[in-house]
Symmetry: C3
Subunit: 148 residues, 3 copies
């Protein structure tokens, strides 16, 4: 192999990448697949967050076009305890989880509220390093961030 | 000039670009052009959002150095209906729109509030797939996100 | 080696990169170093922000694994004035600053509250172009954004 060929193929690869990126940005339709992390901490924002997420799924044309993770930390997590859960919340979580929305509970909040994973509504996973670390980690992986 | 030289100078240019970018990051002056999406949902955050955006324009040295889009969804959109709009809000929207700030209204909220585009203050566009989808789309295009 | 082989090895390299990225995402351990900007504007969110940041440091295994900047603007900045500062706040700022957390005060807010840098708790720097510009600048540099 010689240097000229190496350089040439490197530039061709770069050029192809740039062209693809520019074409995607120029058209904006159909919209690219999205990845989004929702941050819920306030109890009085639960229904608003659910509305946002449902609208997000609908606006993207269904869950196959978007990856959504809801990270719950702080007071809002109480609304997701199995014991005493609002039947409407239970139903909404079940519906969204079935549609592929991920639910992550902050480990620190779980400890503070003395609740284990099986004490939360079905669909939750534990954010072992804490909710805020999980939120930052997802953003580093290209997830957009929305605070309802 | 032969192809090898062409390629070589192309790579040198790339290298110069990288070096310039790193130098700029190190000094932080002048600051790079910014793209920012503001997310407004709460009625009681309207003035705060306007203050943030005006400060953003001023801090960047004028609208030619920053692209700002304000996405309005939920209860806050009521404050932007033409009918009954606060004269101060009307004026601030007109001023910011003239400075190049984009205003996007969530289609779902418009439907819920039974308002069409011509029922909103001048300067608005419709976020057809919904406000949250538009917010995530802009972030995927490199916009920073601020929730006033 | 001919050009076809060169392209093939370029693609193989790309493939290896993708595989490495996917493996990292799949295992999630050890987690990559993080950079995060926290946005604090509301006085009643101070303790919540401090809790989030402490959990963030702990969850990452210490300040050597994460760069955190807290940008304070608006009413919340009053809580960081030296005169009349709550002793608990003073102590928490000192502890976090010692752990490497950066504190940035919005220049516009400082002006509005008529306070100079030496009137704020030790550990603060001034965000000269304003808090919102600093927040967007950090995001452009790869910082995740969290609004406590």
């Amino acid at each position: 192999m010689n240097r000229r060929n190496m350089l040439w193929s490197a530039l061709v690869s770069l050029g192809a990448g740039w062209a693809a990126t520019r074409a995607q940005a120029a058209t904006e339709a159909p919209i690219a697949r999205q990845k989004v992390v929702y941050h819920l901490a306030d109890s009085d924002r639960m229904n608003f967050a659910f509305g946002n997420i449902q609208n997000h799924l609908d606006g993207m044309g269904g869950p196959e076009h978007v990856s959504i993770v809801l990270v719950v930390l702080g007071p809002a997590l109480r609304g997701f305890h199995r014991d005493g859960a609002n039947p409407d919340i239970t139903q909404r979580v079940a519906k969204l989880a079935k549609a592929g929305v991920g639910f992550a509970a902050c480990k620190n909040t779980m400890k503070a509220q003395d609740v284990a994973l099986d004490g939360l509504l079905p669909g939750f996973a534990v954010a072992d390093r804490g909710g805020v670390v999980r939120i930052a980690e997802l953003q580093a992986q290209g997830f957009a961030y929305i605070r309802p």
